[in-house]
Assembly symmetry: C2
Homo-oligomer: 152 residues x 2
């Protein structure tokens, strides 16, 4: 069970966390850069969720790096439970934010060009796509941890 | 392991499936009744997902009723795996549909009253709320089946 990929303290978990941070930061970057995102509640929700995900994944990236490079600690049941619950909540929030952003962008594109001038809507779309990628990696983390939990 | 609540063939699984059917049907009812939902892609997505969920949950309701009232069959690993994957995909689709509907409704409420005359927007809101309830029950089914899977 120590070799289960994606579990806390493995190099694949480290890679998953790194991917989550990269995609969340990209999504946040495309949403915030020079864009008045606070006009729409769906976009504000995305920004809030991305802030949560980046801080959560950064913390666990540091923990993974500690496990890999310094020493291998035994995994505790309570720790994995907290991790699984946190990942689950964040992956649901990420999916919700990505879907809200995508549907609002779609509606803005269909409705009127005046709401979506220049390259604004393509930025919203890129931000939503990055949020979907971050959701995919986050739910993978959650499933791997959930999988090893009953065997602990 | 036979007594694990929420697993296939238990009365709690039967109740969960029944709840999914009720909330999905209610969501579909409020969305379709006298409303031009096909004008917005998020609402079309909700209707499609609800159709999938109602057929999936109805099938499994019949299977659960067979297990409970007629005979108790041994659970097979492959069967539970398919069930878990199906439930997972449907719960993600349900959350996506619910969030899209909620965010588009919010945008329509904020934007202009002409897009949202009379009691239309409150119907959209009720439909989104029902979709969230159906998502909650569907993800509960998925988690219970996922939980017993490693022990099979």
């Amino acid at each position: 069970m120590e070799e289960m990929p994606g579990a806390l303290g493995t190099s694949s978990s480290f890679a998953l966390r790194l991917g989550q941070i990269v995609f969340s930061s990209a999504s946040l970057f495309f949403m915030c850069l020079d864009v008045d995102f606070y006009g729409y509640s769906a976009f504000c929700f995305l920004v809030m969720v991305m802030g949560l995900v980046i801080s959560w994944s950064s913390t666990l990236l540091v923990v993974d790096a500690y496990y890999i490079f310094i020493k291998c600690l035994p995994r505790q049941r309570r720790c994995i439970l907290m991790l699984t619950l946190g990942d689950m909540v964040l992956s649901y929030l990420l999916l919700a934010a990505a879907c809200s952003t995508a549907s609002v962008t779609d509606l803005l594109l269909v409705a009127d060009k005046s709401y979506c001038p220049g390259k604004l809507c393509s930025r919203y779309q890129i931000s939503a796509a990055m949020a979907f990628l971050a959701w995919f990696l986050s739910s993978a983390s959650c499933l791997f941890n959930f999988w090893i939990f009953p065997s602990l």
